[in-house]
Amino acid sequence: MTPPIISMRFDNPDNHRLAAYVASGGYRTLPKMFGMKPDDVIDEVKRSGLRGRGGAGFPTGMKWSFVPKSTDKPKYLCVNADEGEPGTFKDQLILKHDPHALIEGIITCCYAVGIHTAYVYVRGEYDFPIARFSAAVAEAYANGWLGKNIQGSGFDLDVVVHRGAGAYICGEETGLIESLEGKKGQPRPKPPFPAVVGVFGCPTVVNNVETLAALPWIMEHGASAYAAIGTEKSKGTMLFSISGMVERPGVYESEFGVNLWDFIETSTGGVKDGKQLKAVIPGGSSSAILTADEARAVKLDYESIAAAGSMVGSGAIMVLDEDTCVVKALEVVLRFYAHESCGQCPPCREGTYWMHEIVSRIRRGKGHVEDIDLLLSICPDMMGRTVCVLADSAAIPAASYIRKFRHEFEAYIDKANPPERRLHPGGVNLEAGAM
């Protein structure tokens, strides 16, 4: 069993204080790093195989290398702590229990890319994690780990904690950038990518909290030690937020490549109250659902989960037991995306709204037989047609829940109510009052 990397200090109740972090080896690798050439730091991270832990899984070192070397503009780091994908609750643990590991990771990234200002965008609801992390930043400044000439290295870095105000879409990197600029968090078309034109029109790296918190271990133990963990393409470990109908929900760290259900069962004690497993959502509410058989057969790594038709995403695993209603689950998931659509792209704004309306109608026992295929026909029109992937994030679970649990949807539909008796046969059948 691989020793924990990200969560290794979580159990020390004093670890949020600088002294405890330093006593357990924190910050000790930075002086060595300041002696390295920045490009060599980027190479080290590239060779580690570290991929972004916010959901997209993009190789971190490669992302950094897209930032132009010669520019007369300042460069920025935006730390994405807008943890909002339903099922995800791991970054708040880093902010609360190992804030200096994040700060050390921020210093590492900024030194490698030549950045002197980092904004840490934390979701507004995280009162306590914001307070804890802000206190750690203040302590780092007071002890010369942030600010001018860090530990005599000649390297300057400012870290600003920026509080969000309640909008899931600000976890999308360009939505975050717009929000940080003081605007509505409506995502931007790409290209240009943030590495070239990011916040304040300047080259910008956007990295997730957990991604950055992995850097101190990588710099201390070396890229090859990190790359030796996991599988060929999914290197290292990841924090998995496991919630839903299990005995002991929580955040558990694992190397990649283990069996998905074995990992869930060993970590959490299995399905709550001895019930049967119905399904597993492996990567946040935007990922495709896996049946119990699929969850028992698949390995937990980017490629294996993708081959099973879903994704690792932000590592948010949700477990559905035999009593969980898939129709209700989809209704709740679609309500979320309809609520959080920023509204700028019609396929998303209208698609999420109407899919939620239709599933809600089915769940209330007022669905029509053709509603199921109507839903499936809407999905492709929402995918790949919008500025960001929020619309896809609604369509993907919808299609997968319906395809794998169609019988549950059919069970809600009144088969005694044939289409010809309705007001708008063949079209979107509006209930009275649905508009």
Binding site: R163, G166, G182, G244, M245, P249, S285, L320, F336, A338
Partner: protein
């Protein structure tokens, strides 16, 4: 896309930052290369000062940051945490997303309706409580959860939440009590 109704309340009285918030505002300015980037932090200061935002405080923020008022209004309208009406002394934000639904948030809402006589988006007549069903709070491992009094209340049951509400009703500080006993 339904980011709440924002009926904007005018107090009729002018707004200015308190001396303490003025100091915090001055500290914010050099941290950002543009004035506009200070809109969200400045709105947080204004909201903390008065409990909610008003026409006057939003116009004040716009003026201090040299922004058209409409850009500040649009920002306020977009984000769910900015409030343009007074919420209750205890504002219950109960999570209603997937894990919390699986673990019983509907029962919490039913109990709140029964106990306080208010549904989502409503406030008690004495102004003590208001309730809002919110999307994922990012604490699914402790579902069902709610946010109230600037902190999270986790692993809720109907009974536990009732006792938290009782403590608030009786004027005790719920944060100083252990409801898992």
């Amino acid at each position: 896309m339904s980011h709440g109704s924002h009926a904007i309340a005018s107090t009729g009285k002018p707004f200015a930052f308190s001396p303490e918030n003025e100091k915090r505002f001055q500290e914010l300015l050099p941290k950002y290369p543009t004035r506009r980037a200070v809109v969200l932090p400045a709105l947080w200061l204004a909201q903390e000062q008065e409990g909610h935002l008003t026409v006057e405080s939003m116009e004040y923020v716009a003026e201090r940051l040299e922004q058209p008022a409409v850009t500040v209004f649009a920002v306020v309208e977009f984000y769910t945490m900015f409030k343009t009406e007074a919420v209750g002394k205890h504002h219950l934000q109960v999570c209603r997303t997937l894990t919390c639904t699986m673990r019983g948030c509907d029962d919490l809402q039913t109990m709140i309706e029964r106990k306080l006589g208010i549904g989502a988006g409503e406030k008690t007549a004495d102004g003590k409580f208001s309730v809002e069903m919110v999307e994922c709070l990012g604490a699914c491992g402790a579902a069902p959860v709610m946010r109230m009094d600037n902190r999270y209340w986790e692993n809720l049951t109907v009974d536990k939440l009732e006792r938290i509400i009782d403590a608030c009703r009786e004027g005790r500080d719920p944060a100083s009590e252990d409801f898992d006993r």
